[in-house]
């Protein structure tokens, strides 16, 4: 998915020269308004969307010789309506006593067209089917009868998502949300439809733009990774320094207390899918941590937080300090605080941090959190779920480091095991996620879809290995990738990707050791690496220059390493080769 790499790179460099994602809208209604909104939306990543001729969904998806395919788009958006796409659904509207046996076959045929198109483009978004809430169908028995519109719609959508879930570059977007957010009265507009064949109200289309942008942000690695929270009157009601643990409003038979418990539940759900939680609060640390540990209604406990700065210092300083500790970029941070002055301080100091307007009314906190669309992920892996546990383990590691006489003693004491395995289908989602999300220790910052990465790895000249790391404090999971390309007697390291969570624990040296030995086993005599700089992968070049066995004569040349004498395995690492 070169466009993603390109987009991420260019966005990071300059706001003026943004590479746009090219998109094609395939719809059975006039999508001119929608493409207009999409093209004018200034949020990253920017899109240049064209329209296939509306009403020609089948032709547009099936016939790649049509002019709309002249330049293959990066993204295809397929937005159709059940009454126009599914004849059986249309028949049920016209004659409620019809027998809609063909509905599933029609959905299958539609999915076959999507599958066909999915082979030609990098990503396809398909919207779920919706109908106007003004259509009561068969009323009381609309969900009971097979020919009920609501019944058919549920079945058609379920079949749609089931059919498409195996296609790694196809995502179904939930259009029902857009109608609900726009409101029933504004979801459809008779003037727009009868005079312009515009299928949905303008507010629905604006909501759709939001979700398309959120989805693209997820696919381009722009998902926010860390939520930094205030405590007093944000995570709980009241000021703990004034009212003490017993006086906090949290849970119980109290509307505010219940809302704040719900807020914590939603935060915990985000944490469970890999979003880190942190605290920056002006408070007494002992008192605050005591409340987190001991308040009976706290949903979030100390182990749920990747880190915190609880003191009386400036919040901007504390935030900066925390993100450094957690190795997270400021552009990945969301800052939530009830105090407008603190929000202003952070937004002013760090424009790249997302600082949402936070409602005054605590009852609205849960909805405000749920409305944030910056946490979408293309997949959820076991590593995501365990991410916060990693930081707990990291705190323990650091405690041992403090006690150790030297870094070398500390590394020895970790009992680190690295397991190397060839890329397999089982590891593909996580490996692709790592490839697309990692910015710092990333040699070339290639961004690819699962299918593209798998296809590349299966080429006879290419090899991809994955690396898993565990130590006495826990299992970090799959955290590294090495991709080699063989040409003549030389292996070129195309991908060298390592999660920032384990950087500096000699995993980097282990990966180079493995790459060199694998290349030597293939009968090659040289290992090369071409570093492609981005604004964020400086740690990678620092490693290559200062801590690896790679050398280069001048900056224009790739790094190289002779395989006559490959670099040794670091003595603090136990290596398990799963490919044997």
């Amino acid at each position: 998915m070169w466009y993603i790499a390109q987009t991420v790179r260019v966005f990071s460099r300059t706001k003026n020269k943004m590479t746009k994602i090219s998109a094609l809208l395939v719809s059975d209604f006039n999508g001119e308004s929608f493409t207009g909104y999409l093209n004018n939306d200034t949020r990253a990543p920017q899109i240049a969307c064209q329209m296939a001729p509306f009403g020609q969904v089948v032709q547009s998806l099936a016939d790649e010789t049509l002019p709309c395919w002249r330049e293959t788009p990066d993204l295809v958006l397929v937005w159709t309506t059940p009454e126009r796409q599914l004849p059986s659904f249309r028949a049920a509207i016209d004659n409620p006593l019809c027998q809609p046996e063909l509905l599933m076959a029609e959905v299958d045929e539609f999915c076959r067209l999507i599958q066909q198109a999915a082979g030609r483009v990098r990503t396809i978004f398909v919207t779920s089917w919706v109908m106007s809430s003004a259509n009561r169908g068969l009323g009381l028995i609309d969900l009971k009868q097979n020919s009920g519109c609501a019944h058919m719609l549920l079945r058609a959508n379920l079949r749609l998502v089931e059919n498409l879930k195996g296609l790694t570059n196809v995502y179904v977007l939930n259009a029902q949300r857009w109608l609900e957010l726009a409101g029933a009265a504004r979801a459809y507009d008779s003037t727009l439809w009868y005079m312009g064949k515009v299928g949905f109200g303008l507010d629905v289309q604006k909501q759709a733009v939001h979700d398309v942008k959120a989805a693209l942000q997820a696919l381009t690695g722009m998902t926010r990774k860390l939520i930094v929270l205030d405590l007093d009157d944000t995570l709980w009601g009241g000021i703990i320094g004034d009212v003490g643990l017993e006086g906090l409003r949290l849970g119980g038979h109290d509307p505010v207390g219940e809302a704040l418990v719900d807020l914590q539940r939603y935060l915990k759900a985000l944490k469970n899918r890999g979003i880190l939680l942190g605290i920056v609060s002006k408070n007494e640390e002992n008192l605050a941590l005591q409340a987190i540990s001991q308040h009976p209604e706290m949903v979030l406990r100390v182990e749920d937080f990747a880190g915190w700065r609880i003191n009386w210092k400036d919040k901007a300083d504390n935030l900066l300090d925390l993100v450094k500790e957690l190795n997270v970029g400021l552009q990945s941070v969301v800052f939530i605080d009830d105090n407008p002055a603190e929000r202003f301080r952070i937004q002013k100091a760090f424009p790249e941090v997302l600082v949402p307007e936070w409602p005054k009314d605590k009852l609205r906190y849960p909805a405000a959190l749920q409305a944030l669309d910056c946490f979408d992920l293309p997949a959820i892996t076991p590593e995501d779920a365990a991410r916060s546990d990693h930081f707990l383990a990291e705190r323990l590691r650091k405690a041992v480091q403090t006690e150790s006489a030297s870094v070398s003693d500390w590394l020895q004491g970790l009992d680190t095991t690295v397991t190397v395995e060839p890329l397999s289908l089982a590891h593909l989602p996580r490996a692709t996620q790592l490839l697309n999300k990692t910015n710092q220790m990333n040699l070339s910052t290639r961004r690819m879809t699962e299918s593209e990465f798998w296809a590349w790895s299966q080429n006879n000249d290419n090899r991809v290995w994955t690396f898993r790391v565990s130590d006495r404090f826990g299992d970090a999971g799959l955290i590294g990738i090495v991709g080699l390309q063989q040409k003549g007697t030389t292996a070129t390291m195309v991908d060298f990707v390592l999660s920032c969570r384990v950087m500096g624990r000699r995993i980097e040296e282990t990966m180079v050791h493995v790459a060199a030995h694998k290349a030597k086993q293939l009968g090659l005599n040289c290992l090369c690496a071409t570093y492609r700089p981005t604004p964020r992968n400086q740690p990678c070049v620092e490693f290559l220059e200062k801590r690896s066995a790679f050398r280069r004569q001048n900056a224009d040349e790739p790094y190289s390493l002779s395989l006559d004498n490959p670099p040794p395995l670091p003595d603090c690492i136990k290596l398990i080769d799963g490919s044997k």
């Binding site: 001119e32 308004s33 207009g36 093209n39 009868y194 005079m195 303008l202």
Partner: protein
């Protein structure tokens, strides 16, 4: 209809033009001014833009008056192309349609 209401109709139309501009490419954006030509030969408003503008104005009128004001004249192209020549002719059309359904609030 008071002059205050006339002024409000003009500002409502200008707000609707801003709405429309959100979906137009830069070269087709419509100047937000009471003196703007819309569907006249010098104007930038095409037939699709007219449909969107009708919807946006009807929406805003509904918010203001709480009632349905139909501007589309059942799609009569002749009437609409005259009504949408300029912002001022459009304002007169809106006032005409609103008066015929007696929807303006008595007092502002």
């Amino acid at each position: 209809m008071s002059s205050l209401q006339s002024a409000r109709v003009i500002s409502l139309i200008l707000a609707a033009i801003e709405d429309l501009n959100l979906q137009l490419p830069p070269e087709r954006k419509i100047p937000v001014s009471p003196d703007t030509n819309l569907a006249s030969p010098e104007g930038l408003l095409d037939s699709m833009g007219m449909v969107i503008l009708i919807s946006c104005i009807e929406d805003r009128l509904r918010e203001w008056t709480g009632a349905e004001v139909i501007l589309s004249n059942e799609g009569d192209a002749t009437v609409l192309s005259q009504a949408f020549r300029t912002v001022r002719t459009l304002a007169a059309h809106v006032v005409h349609c609103a008066n015929s359904t007696r929807v303006f609030p008595d007092k502002e």
